[in-house]
């Protein structure tokens, strides 16, 4: 009597990756999440609780903050880590729920595009921001603009 022939399993796993991408994605997700908690709640506290609170937020307030390297780097770190955390989370969801290889590729390409556009534009705005545009109503500008003009 012959041994019964076995049919291969119906679920074929995708080929192994050797770069430990998923491991680093998992670790960085947790690291960025922990840092973002500190960054975001400090940001909210400084903007909303100190001074005049929400009534103080206008062009002058934002321009004044971005004139200081600390807040430039603070906001840049929030932007980069937040975008990484969110985009990576969406990547994981796409991996879980995209049903075909084509939809998976398209969704990930859109995700990468959104990530690049937001990070590049946001970083440019933070570091090239002009707090004292020429010809603007001086009432709306931060107080230090008077000495510049």
């Amino acid at each position: 009597m012959n041994a019964p022939s076995l049919t291969p399993p119906r679920f074929a796993r995708s080929p192994r990756t050797s770069h430990h991408v998923e491991k680093w994605s998992w670790i960085l997700m947790r690291v960025s999440g922990a840092i973002l908690i500190v960054l975001i709640f400090t940001h909210l506290f400084v903007n909303l609780m100190t001074g005049d609170g929400i009534n103080a937020i206008d062009f002058a307030f934002v321009a004044g903050k971005w004139a200081q390297p600390l807040w430039q780097w603070w906001d840049a770190a929030m932007l980069w880590l937040g975008m990484f955390h969110g985009t990576n989370g969406m990547r994981v969801l796409v991996n879980d729920y995209a049903r075909t290889e084509t939809s998976r590729r398209v969704l990930k390409a859109l995700l990468a595009l959104a990530f690049i556009v937001t990070v590049v534009l946001g970083t440019l705005v933070i570091f090239t921001f002009d707090p004292c545009p020429i010809g603007a109503n001086p009432d709306l500008l931060p107080s230090f603009c008077e000495s510049v003009s």
């Binding site: 119906r10 491991k23 998992w26 729920y97």
Partner: protein
């Protein structure tokens, strides 16, 4: 009358009227239903408070509808054949007492999810077993074969005690929402199957197994949903064991 008649179920004990709502599918079709069509069937059976869901299913199969298909073997929670979704939770039908369920409503019984249904409550377990085979569930010792037993201290044995309890019923893997989505995930059972050998002091294949679980379909797909821990009929702390495997991979220490 003897003392035993007070506790043992007797024919004049007040019966429990149980309505069972069973999800069914027949690959060959029935006069009312097309081949492969999923539908709900309801049965009303009179049972005793000491009976389990499996006894109710037996009563349906033996007295109402012989075409009802389900797996069971030992019927005592050891073989792991009769895992099914009872009132939306993965349980062994032989371990759920009818008196513990809300009998004001029908008891829903469905096949476990995420695996292809063959007929009624029977699913194809092959993808589940394929995952288990991939993590190499056998002892891989190093060095010469000793003349006598491979010795182990009680502490070394206790390290992986919990995951030795697995009976491969698939209740955990088929309760995992990540396993439902794409069929790529190993599932909790394969990970605890690996855990049982990774943390065994007599085994030296731990890094072979850890590298398999470091894969994109491996432990990193676990989102600590805890469905597996809730589903395990053996009370294995499945999510904790998965986290121990993650920790071994991130720290490099077994």
């Amino acid at each position: 009358m003897t003392a035993t008649s007070d506790t043992a179920p007797s024919s004049d004990a007040p019966p429990l009227r149980v309505r069972l709502k069973i999800q069914r599918v027949n690959p060959e079709g029935t006069p009312e239903h097309a081949p492969g069509e999923e539908y709900w069937d309801e049965f009303t059976v009179d049972m005793h408070a000491t009976d389990r869901v499996l006894d109710a299913l037996h009563k349906v199969k033996w007295e109402h509808d012989g075409s009802l298909a389900f797996r069971r073997s030992c019927a005592h929670g050891v073989c792991g054949s009769d895992a099914m979704r009872i009132n939306g939770k993965n349980r062994l039908a032989c371990k759920v007492l009818l008196k513990d369920l809300n009998l004001a409503q029908p008891v829903t019984v469905e096949p476990i999810k995420g695996l292809p249904v063959e007929k009624d409550l029977i699913v194809d377990m092959e993808p589940f077993f394929a995952s288990y085979r991939e993590i190499m569930p056998f002892l891989m010792p190093a060095g010469e074969t000793p003349e006598r037993e491979r010795l182990q201290t009680p502490e070394e044995r206790a390290r992986y005690e919990d995951t030795t309890k697995c009976i491969l019923c698939a209740a955990c893997t088929s309760s995992c929402p990540v396993f439902w989505t794409d069929g790529q995930f190993f599932g909790p059972q394969a990970i605890i199957g690996a855990h049982r050998f990774i943390f065994d002091s007599r085994d030296s294949g731990e890094w072979d197994r850890l590298e398999i679980l470091n894969d994109r379909a491996g432990v990193w797909k676990c989102r600590t949903v805890f469905n597996c821990t809730d589903a395990c009929p053996r009370g294995i702390q499945v999510t904790e064991a998965i986290s121990e495997v993650k920790k071994a991979l991130t720290t490099g220490n077994v």
